[in-house]
């Protein structure tokens, strides 16, 4: 027995003593990601986890990496928009090469946009290019997009990581699916390997057109549990961590080996009601719920500084600014008023005594907590709400079939169209509330087509005021802020509002010491 323990101890000390210095001399950055991306092929990327990485392998025509609202040159050196807003011409940078050595030409750009629009590829980003009529390569380095109608958010769509330019020849040979596991782009880092649930490894592209990256190697490691993510960054296992719990952030902020950076983000959470299903469809019911929950206190207690109270769908800082008005029309915590509404509804027979209903939400811990808080408060009024926090696979079909009461979120780029069209338009699949008003639809369509800022802005102000301050179809909860924690050895990294990891841009070139 004793011998056994001694041998174990010896073995342990051996393994512990030999700390790895394997990649000594190489500058390696390890980033913890809370969820593994589903796809790396820009055409197939369905959500932010893929987008967060793709910007390092691929480049887009124009870049929003440094500023989320003003476009900067990317693969296109310059561009022109015709007077009527229906023709976009891009002049490509010369001498840019893909990781496999092939030069970038306008044919690749044409191919990429057409691939996104091709129904056969089932691209999740297809809709952003719906107004595009055709793409033409004018010469080797000039590409023109012809639109059916003017479409204000087109530049944002082209600057999104989901529009990273693919090498035409290679993709045609490999096929879209296979390319997904061996992506080749023009970006600052080349793809090395992807071991699912383990890591994604990139290495430096010395020929990057903005200059060679300082880092030799970047490793993205999925760490599914946020509390383990905190332990990882604290123990030096990773260099950059994101999407952490507020209580961990406030603890890590005190650690002088770490740097905590928080910026306002571009994601929200909201409560939604059905527009068609009783009793949710009655505006008094929605107002009563707004009155019955102390949202300010609850949001502060749940998000604790990783989110700001929201009053509108359009984030502060994104035009059109209307926070004053929206804030004024938010309903305060007022149990008496809530009870008046509930009693009225009960008297009219719209609301049954002991009404039981589920609150559907994702497994995001903050949303589960706010749902719990709402359910708890509603019990005081004799409403028996229960929280159903489901995984996406079950949740989406339920939401699309008019769920009644749900708590969800959204994340997007700084343009009002992207924040409203899919949520409020009657024809959209993301309109979980089944909100349907002709004037709203009209305003949404106008907002897309109008180019002048003033008139466009008015449309969105109207939509927000009508939907949120008259109909109370949603209760906006928070705009999340983005917090990245990085170790002091990382230099030059800044979080992005969309929670992307931009490592090399015209202004920065992240490195480690």
């Amino acid at each position: 027995m004793k011998k056994f323990f001694i041998s174990i101890l010896v073995l342990l000390s051996f393994t512990l003593g030999l700390c790895p210095g394997v990649f000594a001399g190489e500058k390696t950055l390890t980033i913890g990601i809370s969820k593994e991306p589903a796809k790396l092929n820009p055409v197939l990327i369905p959500g932010i986890y893929g987008e967060a990485l793709a910007g390092n392998i691929f480049d887009t025509l124009i870049s929003f990496k440094e500023n989320a609202s003003t476009p900067a040159p990317g693969l296109a050196e310059s561009w022109e928009i015709s007077q009527d807003g229906k023709q976009y011409t891009f002049h490509l940078r010369k001498g840019v090469k893909f990781h496999n050595g092939q030069p970038l030409t306008s044919a690749d750009v044409k191919f990429t946009i057409e691939a996104t629009m091709d129904p056969a590829n089932a691209s999740p980003s297809k809709e952003f290019f719906a107004p595009v009529d055709r793409v033409e390569a004018m010469d080797d380095f000039t590409v023109t997009l012809f639109l059916k109608d003017a479409y204000a958010p087109l530049l944002l769509a082209l600057g999104s990581p989901t529009s990273g330019i693919l090498p035409k020849e290679l993709v045609s040979q490999m096929g879209m699916d296979k390319f997904d596991s061996h992506p080749v782009g023009t970006g600052p880092f080349m793809f090395v390997e992807w071991l699912p649930d383990e890591r994604i490894v990139l290495k430096k592209n010395p020929d990057y057109f903005l200059g060679a990256p300082n880092l030799d190697r970047v490793i993205f490691r999925p760490v599914p549990k946020p509390e383990v993510m905190a332990a990882e960054i604290e123990s030096g296992g990773i260099d950059i961590a994101h999407q952490m719990l507020p209580q961990d952030i406030s603890r890590l902020a005190k650690d002088d080996r770490l740097k905590v950076m928080t910026i306002p983000g571009l994601g929200n959470s909201y409560i939604g009601f059905s527009y068609k299903k009783m009793p949710f469809a009655d505006v008094r019911f929605r107002k009563a719920i707004y009155h019955s929950v102390p949202f300010d206190a609850a949001i502060k207690g749940i998000w604790r500084g990783v989110g700001e109270r929201a009053y509108s769908w359009i984030p502060p800082g994104v035009f059109p600014e209307d926070t004053e008005y929206m804030k004024k029309s938010a309903l305060a915590h007022d149990p008496k008023q809530a009870r008046v509404y509930f009693d009225e509804l009960k008297k009219e027979g719209i609301l049954k005594e002991d009404f039981e209903f589920p609150i559907y939400t994702s497994q995001n811990p903050h949303r589960v907590k706010i749902a719990t808080a709402v359910a708890t408060e509603l019990r005081k009024y004799g409403l028996k709400a229960r929280v159903e926090s489901l995984e996406w696979g079950t949740l989406f079909p339920i939401l699309k079939a008019d769920s009644g009461f749900y708590i969800m979120g959204w994340g997007s780029v700084p343009d009002p169209d992207r924040w409203t069209y899919k949520i409020f338009h009657s024809g959209s699949s993301m309109n979980f509330s089944m909100y349907e008003l002709p004037e709203i639809d009209k305003a949404l369509d106008l907002g897309r087509a109008l180019v002048g800022a003033d008139k466009r802005g008015e449309q969105y102000k109207f939509i927000m005021r009508k939907a949120l301050a008259q109909d109370y179809i949603h209760i906006p909860l928070v705009f999340k802020s983005v917090t990245a924690v990085c170790s002091n050895r990382v230099k030059g990294f800044e979080p992005s509002a969309q929670d992307y990891f931009h490592l090399v841009t015209e202004k920065r070139n992240v490195t480690v010491e």
Partner: protein
């Protein structure tokens, strides 16, 4: 000794019962169950007393009494039993004990330490930890016991039928159970949860189907040995039906392994539920569950250790006492260990 103990329990219950009467409307189900418990206790004490009187006259001791004598000597098992009795009282009386509601949020008092208003502090949503733990015990014991009882009944039934009839019935039942057993349980549970949705009823159903194989195997084994005894053959010869042979003669002889296995698997059940809560599939909020509280609490380890300590210790206490009590019963049933 026994008589005195159950008599005292009865008296305590009765006093509590009267004392709580004014609050009975608060939660009439609990109060009703408590009334039944008190009555049962009274009857039990009475039966014990009569039994004792009768047995005092004879020098013979029944096997049950011998077992009880052995169990009484085992101090750990007795302590475990005491804890279980206290826990079951807490379970039933939870709504009368706690001054706070387990659901009410207090946004002005988030994750606080021990204080006079909140005896064990509050959690991250300002809910009283003491109240939540009490109700958590309730849920854990409730689901645990129900699931294990169901599990025992189904498993015993299958094992009994398979063992008694043998042949093709046996093969069929055991093969089907093997299929059931070959699929990794946690995957099966998650898949069923995904298919049927979450909810207490479904949770009980899934957990109660988890351990069938173990029950069926053990029961089948003891049935096979019991079946060979002469008295079974004799019973069959005089024309007693299969059902009553199984119920009257076979089952009582298998009762001890069933009891032991059942008491041991309650702990396991509680942990399975905790694990499912960790994966986001357990008991849905706002209902408090010990596993869910611990899964939540471990995210606040640095901020408020009580949030993990309290549910953690409670789970430990429940599982430990069921296991120790189960061990004690097993030792007491095993006559060979008595030398």
């Amino acid at each position: 000794m026994v008589r005195l103990k159950s008599f005292y329990l009865f008296m305590i219950s009765l006093i509590l019962q009267v004392g709580l009467f004014p609050m009975a409307s608060r939660e009439w189900i609990s109060y009703g169950i408590f009334t039944l418990m008190t009555l049962g206790m009274g009857l039990f004490a009475l039966a014990m007393a009569r039994n004792k009187k009768r047995q005092n006259t004879s020098a013979m001791k029944g096997s049950r009494e011998l077992m009880w004598l052995r169990l009484k000597k085992n101090k750990t098992a007795m302590v475990a039993m005491g804890v279980l009795i206290v826990l079951s009282y807490l379970t039933v009386l939870a709504p009368f004990i706690t001054p706070q509601s387990p659901l009410d949020t207090d946004w002005a008092a988030l994750s606080q330490g021990i204080s006079t208003t909140h005896w064990l502090g509050t959690d991250d949503m300002g809910r009283d930890l003491f109240a939540r733990t009490l109700f958590g015990i309730r849920v854990a014991m409730g689901i645990g016991v129900t699931a294990v009882v169901l599990n025992t009944l189904i498993g015993t039934f299958l094992g009994l039928v398979a063992g008694y009839y043998g042949g093709k019935t046996d093969t069929l039942i055991m093969r089907l159970l093997e299929v059931w057993n070959a699929i990794p349980f946690i995957l099966l549970a998650i898949a069923i949860m995904a298919a049927l949705g979450t909810g207490i009823g479904k949770l009980i159903l899934i957990v109660s189907l988890s351990n069938l194989m173990a029950f069926a195997r053990i029961i089948r084994g003891s049935v096979l040995t019991v079946k060979e005894h002469d008295y079974i053959a004799a019973a069959r010869v005089i024309g007693i039906t299969d059902t009553s042979i199984m119920l009257r003669h076979v089952l009582p002889n298998c009762i001890s392994p069933i009891l032991v296995l059942a008491s041991l698997s309650i702990g396991e059940t509680i942990l399975v539920i905790a694990g499912l809560s960790f994966l986001g599939l357990g008991i849905q909020p706002p209902m408090p569950s010990l596993g869910g509280m611990l899964a939540n609490g471990q995210q606040f380890l640095h901020e408020n250790f009580l949030m993990s300590l309290v549910p953690g210790v409670t789970i430990l206490l429940i599982v430990l006492s069921f296991n120790l009590f189960g061990d004690g019963v097993r030792d007491a049933l095993d006559s060979r260990l008595n030398d």
